[in-house]
């Protein structure tokens, strides 16, 4: 990925992470260009989700992570949080809040000062965007199916029109049809000059959504390139991995 300095949305420099004696990454370097959808693909346990946790400051790490050229540390991630959205693997909806409260959580609690009426209007619009009816506005997350929970979580992630979106295994645990519609939704959302980072072990999702792919094995970038080059690549590990998924 050839990126000039002004075009970097996110830059990961010499990222290292250990759990006890187990090394997850050692001096990992990744650049995420503005407006691109980057997929991080690889088998389970290879450090994909840990990478996302490092970027979002949810775990300690060594190295540097820059967002729009600004070094992120524990105290100054507010800009990143305000300008980003994250879809967790299991949705991570708040059990004690209903659908509209979950969707508009950021607007109510993160200093956007929206009134209840406005929040309900925004929640309806968001549900519409993720292809759900507004009849579930008052439902609790436990009353929704897995696919619906993912969509509500997606609506929560995009509620304040973020510049950058993070997806952690967006289609894991979903049936093929629901997975396909979630992929379509993410594809639509990421096409409007929104930068996105998608963590997945599913090549179908990656091929559907991403512009570029990083193939990660044991914390090392084994292959990276354009999505169109991926299937034609002669890289043995990547070929084996793609064949094993087909």
């Amino acid at each position: 990925m050839d990126i000039n300095n002004n075009n970097k949305e996110l830059e990961i420099i010499n990222l290292s992470k250990k759990y006890g004696n187990k090394v997850i990454f050692n001096n990992l370097n990744i650049q995420i260009p503005k407006g691109k959808s980057i997929g991080i693909m690889g088998p389970s346990g290879t450090g994909k989700s840990v990478l996302l946790k490092c970027i979002l400051g949810l775990t300690d790490y060594e190295g540097k992570i820059l967002y729009k050229g600004t070094l992120l540390d524990k105290r100054n991630r507010k800009d990143l949080y305000n300008q980003s959205g994250m879809l967790f693997q299991n949705g991570a909806l708040f059990d004690s809040l209903n659908v509209w409260q979950n969707i508009t959580f950021k607007l109510i609690n993160a200093g956007f000062f929206y009134s209840t009426v406005n929040c309900l209007l925004v929640a309806k619009k968001m549900l519409n965007q993720v292809e759900l009816g507004d009849d579930i506005l008052q439902n609790m997350p436990s009353e929704l199916s897995g696919g619906m929970q993912k969509r509500v979580a997606l609506a929560r992630a995009i509620v304040n029109s973020p510049n950058i979106l993070f997806f952690d295994e967006p289609t894991t645990g979903l049936d093929p049809l629901t997975a396909k519609s979630i992929n379509n939704l993410i594809f639509k959302l990421t096409k409007n000059n929104v930068t996105s980072l998608i963590i997945s072990h599913d090549p179908i999702s990656i091929q559907k959504i991403c512009d570029e792919v990083i193939f990660l094995i044991d914390g090392i970038i084994e292959w990276q390139g354009n999505i169109k080059e991926m299937s034609a690549s002669k890289h043995k590990m990547l070929k084996d991995y793609l064949n094993s998924k087909n």
């Binding site: 949810l58 949080y81 991570a92 909806l93 708040f94 059990d95 993160a110």
Partner: protein, 265 residues
């Protein structure tokens, strides 16, 4: 010296040392967790809705448990003191001992232990579940400090609620003693009330409130701390819940002793 004996002499002090280090580290971690939560409670934004919600969950919903416990303990205390007092011809001490005993010891300790069983476990289970299902991580990514949003309201409200609950518990406990003494033991109601009030000092009341506030802080801090540290799915949630109740109860009894030393010396 054979090798097994050598190992024992080496391993035993190592084990003790290791546990002492874990214990001291835990005290440090819990203290810094509490200080950070209290610091976050006084700087804006203030999540008023969360505070109001916790008043209901922690304060109001604990009232029946505290009231019932206090009432029956007050009655039992009156019976016990009467039964012991007859041996010393000191039956007339029942009203004052029930009142003073409740205010100084039983009220705050019973209320603390009952609320620890109800609230500390509930807080730990709720936060631990949120932790293992990534809801706490989700809060962070939604630009909301989880300590400020989840921990500060619980600690502040429990610290304020416990003295109120204890005061209500004290009144109900003393009333339980009164009811049993008057209806069952044949005490004169007016004389009972007079001698109950006569020996109560201001220090009995404020010491009760200070103890209750300290216990409230212990209960919620333990619940939140163990909830936030939870890992490994359902097993972690169960462990967090158990640890929070066990440590809250032990700390309440230990702090009760130290506060009694401090307040009544």
């Amino acid at each position: 010296m054979n090798k097994n004996k050598q190992n024992f002499y080496y391993l035993f002090p190592t084990l003790i040392g290791k546990n002492i280090i874990i214990f001291i580290t835990s005290i440090g971690n819990i203290t810094s967790f509490l200080i950070y939560a209290l610091y976050k409670a006084v700087i804006p934004p203030f999540y008023i809705k969360e505070y109001v919600k916790q008043i209901y969950i922690i304060g109001w919903a604990s009232l029946p448990v505290v009231a019932l416990t206090a009432f029956f303990t007050g009655g039992a205390l009156a019976l016990q003191i009467y039964s012991g007092g007859t041996r010393l011809n000191a039956e007339s001490a029942v009203p004052s001992i029930v009142a003073i005993g409740f205010l100084r010891e039983l009220g705050p300790v019973l209320c603390g232990l009952m609320v620890a069983g109800r609230v500390s476990s509930a807080i730990a289970a709720e936060l631990a579940t949120m932790k293992v299902t990534e809801q706490i991580d989700a809060l962070t990514t939604l630009a909301t400090d989880p300590i400020k949003f989840l921990v500060s309201p619980r600690i502040v409200i429990t610290t304020i609620s416990l003295p109120i609950l204890t005061t209500i518990g004290n009144i109900i406990g003393i009333f339980g003693g009164y009811l049993i003494s008057v209806e069952r033991l044949g005490f004169n109601p007016i004389l009972y009330i007079e001698s109950s009030i006569k020996y109560i000092e201001f220090s009995d009341i404020y010491s009760s409130l200070i103890k209750a506030a300290a216990f409230g802080m212990i209960i919620s801090t333990m619940g939140c701390y163990f909830g936030f540290r939870a890992s490994r799915g359902a097993l972690g949630v169960g462990k967090a819940t158990t640890d929070s109740v066990v440590f809250s109860s032990i700390l309440i009894l230990a702090f009760n002793y130290f506060l009694t030393e401090l307040l009544f010396r």
